[in-house]
C-alpha cells in the first residue's frame, strides 16, 4: 500500500494534483447550492412583503 | 459644401475631435510622459549596465507604449457618453461603424502617433541596438493601430460603467498578447540577425483583418451597452 502511495517517489506531486482537482470541483459544485439557499430566502422575503402589502391595502 | 453625406459626417467628426484634443492639448502629452516614466523605471530596477538594458530595451519600450495606449483608451467614448453626443452619433443616419472608425483613427493619431515619435528616445534610454530601431518603429507603426482597434471594442463594452479602468485592462490585455508577441518577436529577430519579415507580415495581416472587423464589432458592442 505504501508503495502505491509513494507513486514512485512523486507521491506528493501526484496526490496534490488530484487533491486540487477534487477540491476545485467540489467548490464548483457547492457554490450554486449556497447561492440557491440565499436566493430562495430572498424570494420568500419578497412573497411575505407582497402578502403584507396586499393585506394592508385590502 | 454638401451636408448630410457620410463623407461630411466623417469630416465633421474629424474636425470636432481634433479641435477638442487641441483645446486640451496639455492632456495629449500624458500618455507620452507616462511611457517615458515607465521606461525610466527599468534602469533603476535593473541597474544602468548597458548590456543588461540593451537586451530588454525593445520589449520594454513596446510594453511601455502598450500600457500608455491602454490608459488613454478610456477617453475614447467617456466624454461623448457623459454629455450625450454618443447617443447623437448612434442616432445619426450614417453607418455607425464608419463613424466609430473615424473616432478610433483620431484617437490613434492623437495618442499613438506621439508615442511612436518618442519611441527612439525611449530606445536610446535603454541602449537600444542600432539594428533594432527601424524594426521597432515598423512594428510599432503596425501594432499601435491594432491595439487601438482591439481596445476600442472592449471600451465600447465598458462604456456604461463609472470606474472601468481596471476592468478594461483585464478585458484588453489577453487580446493584446498576440500583437505584443509578434511585435517583440520582430525586434528580437532583428537583434539576432534573423529575418524580420515574417512577424511584421503577420502584424500587417492582423491589422488588415482588424481594420475591417473592429469597427463592426465596436458598433455592435456599443449598441449592447447603450441599450
Amino acid at each position: 500500500m505504501t508503495e502505491f502511495l509513494s507513486m514512485g517517489g512523486y507521491g506528493n506531486y501526484v496526490w496534490s494534483s488530484f487533491a486540487i482537482f477534487a477540491i476545485v470541483l467540489t467548490l464548483d459544485a457547492v457554490a450554486p447550492l449556497l447561492k440557491r439557499r440565499r436566493v430562495l430566502r430572498e424570494l420568500r422575503g419578497r412573497v411575505r412583503r407582497a402578502q403584507k402589502r396586499s393585506e394592508e391595502t385590502a | 459644401m454638401s451636408y448630410g453625406t457620410s463623407f461630411s459626417a466623417c469630416r465633421a467628426l474629424f474636425v470636432r475631435d481634433f479641435s477638442l484634443v487641441w483645446r486640451r492639448r496639455g492632456d495629449a502629452l500624458n500618455p507620452v510622459l507616462f511611457a517615458v516614466m515607465v521606461v525610466v523605471l527599468f534602469p533603476f530596477a535593473l541597474g544602468p549596465e548597458p548590456n543588461a538594458l540593451a537586451r530588454i530595451s525593445a520589449g520594454t519600450v513596446l510594453v511601455a507604449l502598450l500600457l500608455a495606449g491602454l490608459l488613454s483608451l478610456d477617453a475614447l467614448f467617456r466624454s461623448d457618453f457623459e454629455d450625450g453626443s454618443l447617443e447623437q452619433l448612434v442616432l445619426s443616419p450614417h453607418p455607425l461603424p464608419l463613424l466609430l472608425a473615424c473616432k478610433i483613427a483620431v484617437h490613434w493619431l492623437t495618442t499613438a502617433l506621439p508615442l511612436l515619435l518618442v519611441a527612439p528616445l525611449l530606445g536610446e534610454l535603454l541602449y537600444l541596438p542600432r539594428s533594432e530601431l527601424p524594426v521597432l518603429l515598423a512594428a510599432l507603426a503596425l501594432s499601435t493601430p491594432l491595439l487601438s482597434l482591439i481596445g476600442a471594442v472592449c471600451v465600447a463594452l465598458t462604456v456604461g460603467m463609472r470606474r472601468s479602468g481596471m476592468l478594461l485592462a483585464l478585458l484588453v490585455l489577453p487580446l493584446y498578447v498576440p500583437v505584443l508577441i509578434f511585435a517583440a518577436g520582430a525586434c528580437n529577430a532583428a537583434g539576432q540577425g534573423l529575418p524580420v519579415l515574417a512577424p511584421l507580415l503577420w502584424l500587417g495581416a492582423g491589422l488588415a483583418l482588424t481594420l475591417v472587423l473592429a469597427p463592426l464589432a465596436c458598433a455592435a458592442a456599443l449598441r449592447i451597452s447603450l441599450s
Binding site: A50 | G4, S19, E87, Q88, P93, L226
Partner: protein, 220 residues
C-alpha cells in the same frame, strides 16, 4: 388599414402595441398611437413611467420589447436613413469645450442641413446672438439648452422627440420652445414632448397620452 377616408399619406410616426421590458419587468405597457404632419403630442407620466425609454425606442436607440414603430409607414430602421428623427434628451449632446458655432457645425455635418438656414441665423433665432464663439462651458444651462434647440432648427428632421424640453428654461425660454414647436408644426413636422407637469404648450390643444407607472414589485 382600409380607412373610409381617401387613402391618406401614412402617418409620420406610428406605434403599434409598443412595449418594453427590462429584466422581464414591463417599463411601459402595450401602447398604440399615431402622429401625423402638424401634430404636437404631449406624453405625460410621473417619474419612472418609462418616458425616456419610450423616446429611445421611438428613435431606434432601443429595440422594442413588443410591437413595432413605423416612420412614414416604413419600419423604423429603414426610414431613419433619410434624416427623419431628431432626439433631444436630458443630456444635450453638445461639447462644453467647443463654442455654439463649432457644436452646430458638427451637428449639421452629422445630421445634414435644412435648406434656407445657417448656424448664425439659428443662433440668432434662439436668442444667442453674440455668444457664437464662447465655449459652452461658460454658458448657463438655459443657454446650453438653446444651443440644442438651435440644432433642432438646423437639422432637416421631420419628427422631433423632445424629453422635457421645458426643463431649466426661464419664462422666455418656454415661449421660445412654444414658438419653435408652432413653426415646426406649421412646416408639416410633428413633435412628441414628454414632461412630468411643468408644461406650457399654449397654441391649440395638443393630444395627450398618459403613461402611468406600472407596479414593478410583482408583474401579473
Amino acid at each position: 388599414m382600409n380607412s373610409p377616408t381617401p387613402p391618406e399619406t401614412p402617418p409620420l410616426l406610428e406605434a403599434r402595441g409598443l412595449a418594453y421590458l427590462r429584466n422581464d419587468e414591463p417599463i411601459f405597457g402595450p401602447l398604440s398611437f399615431r402622429l401625423d404632419a402638424g401634430d404636437v403630442v404631449l406624453m405625460e407620466g410621473d417619474n419612472g413611467s418609462g418616458k425616456t425609454t419610450l423616446l429611445k425606442v421611438l428613435s431606434g436607440l432601443l429595440p422594442p420589447g413588443a410591437g413595432e414603430v413605423l416612420l412614414n409607414g416604413e419600419p423604423l430602421t429603414l426610414a431613419r436613413l433619410s434624416h427623419q428623427v431628431a432626439l433631444l434628451g436630458h443630456l444635450l449632446g453638445v461639447k462644453g469645450e467647443l463654442s455654439p458655432l463649432q457644436n452646430l457645425r458638427f451637428a449639421i455635418g452629422l445630421g445634414g442641413l435644412r435648406p434656407g438656414i445657417t448656424p448664425y441665423h439659428a443662433l440668432k433665432s434662439v436668442g444667442l446672438e453674440g455668444y457664437e464663439d464662447l465655449p459652452l462651458r461658460q454658458l448657463s444651462a438655459g443657454q446650453k439648452k438653446r444651443v440644442a434647440l438651435a440644432r433642432l432648427l438646423l437639422v432637416p428632421a421631420a419628427l422631433w422627440l423632445l424629453d422635457e424640453p421645458y426643463a431649466n428654461l426661464d419664462r422666455e425660454g418656454i415661449t421660445l420652445v412654444n414658438r419653435l414647436l408652432e413653426l415646426h408644426a406649421l412646416r408639416g413636422g410633428a413633435a412628441l414632448i414628454t414632461s412630468h407637469g411643468a408644461y406650457a404648450y399654449t397654441s391649440g390643444t395638443p393630444r395627450r397620452i398618459r403613461l402611468d407607472a406600472v407596479d414593478r414589485e410583482f408583474a401579473a
